[in-house]
Amino acid sequence: SQQGEEDPQALSIQEGENATMNCSYKTSINNLQWYRQNSGRGLVHLILIRSNEREKHSGRLRVTLDTSKKSSSLLITASRAADTASYFCATDDEDSSYKLIFGSGTRLLVRP
C-alpha cells in the first residue's frame, strides 16, 4: 500500500517562480526522502529529512517536515526549465528498516 501521497498531482509554473509540492503519509517514520525522476530515467535522490528535523536546505531545495500532521513539503526556489520532472516522496516502512514506500508523485512543468 502507498504511504506517501503527493499534492498536487501536476503543477505548471513559469521559469523563475517557486514550486511547492506536498506529501502526506500515514504511519510513524524515521525519515522521509524526496526523489526526482526525469522522463524516461530512474529516480535520483534529492534530500533526506529525519523525523527529529523540521527543515532542511540543499541549494534551491527546502524541505519541511511536520510529524504531528504527518506531512512534508518540498520547495524549489527560482525554478528552471531543467527542473521539469516528476517528484516523489518516500518514507521508510515502520515494519521494516529496509524498505521505502513511495507516493504517486507530482509532475512539475517549468515553462521557459
Binding site: 530512474g42 528498516s97 529496509y98 521505502l100 514506500i101 513511495f102
Partner: protein
C-alpha cells in the same frame, strides 16, 4: 562510475514467455531492490535483498522470482509473463537500510511489454 545498470532497456514478450532482468551495481552496496512503476503511480516494491544469498518479498511479489548469487547482481525473473506485468521495472541499491537514512540509487529502468 556506472552506478546501477539494468539490462535490457526494452523488451517485448508474448504471454507465457519467460525472461530474466539483470541488475548490476558497482558501489559495493549490500541492499538491492526491484520495483515496478505503472502509469500515474509511484514505485511498488517487488522483491528485495539485504545481502548476497538473501532475498525477501515486497509489496507485489506474485509472478516474480529473484536471485542474489553475487553481491553486485540482482536478477528478476518472470516465469510465465502476463499482460498485467507490462510495466517499467527499476532496480535500486543502497549501502544500508532505509531506517538508517540511506538513499537508494536507481538504474534507468527496463520497459517491458507483454502482448
Amino acid at each position: 562510475n556506472a552506478g546501477v545498470t539494468q539490462t535490457p532497456k526494452f523488451r517485448v514478450l508474448k504471454t507465457g514467455q519467460s525472461m530474466t532482468l539483470l541488475c548490476a551495481q558497482d558501489m559495493n552496496h549490500e541492499y538491492m531492490y526491484w520495483y515496478r512503476q505503472d502509469p500515474g503511480m509511484g514505485l511498488r516494491l517487488i522483491h528485495y535483498s539485504v545481502g548476497e544469498g538473501t532475498t525477501a518479498k515486497g509489496e507485489v511479489p506474485d509472478g516474480y522470482n529473484v536471485s542474489r548469487l553475487k553481491k553486485q547482481n540482482f536478477l528478476l525473473g518472470l516465469e510465465s509473463a502476463a499482460p498485467s506485468q507490462t510495466s517499467v521495472y527499476f532496480c535500486a541499491s543502497s549501502t544500508l537500510g532505509t531506517g538508517a537514512g540511506q538513499p537508494q540509487h536507481f538504474g534507468d529502468g527496463t520497459r517491458l511489454s507483454i502482448l
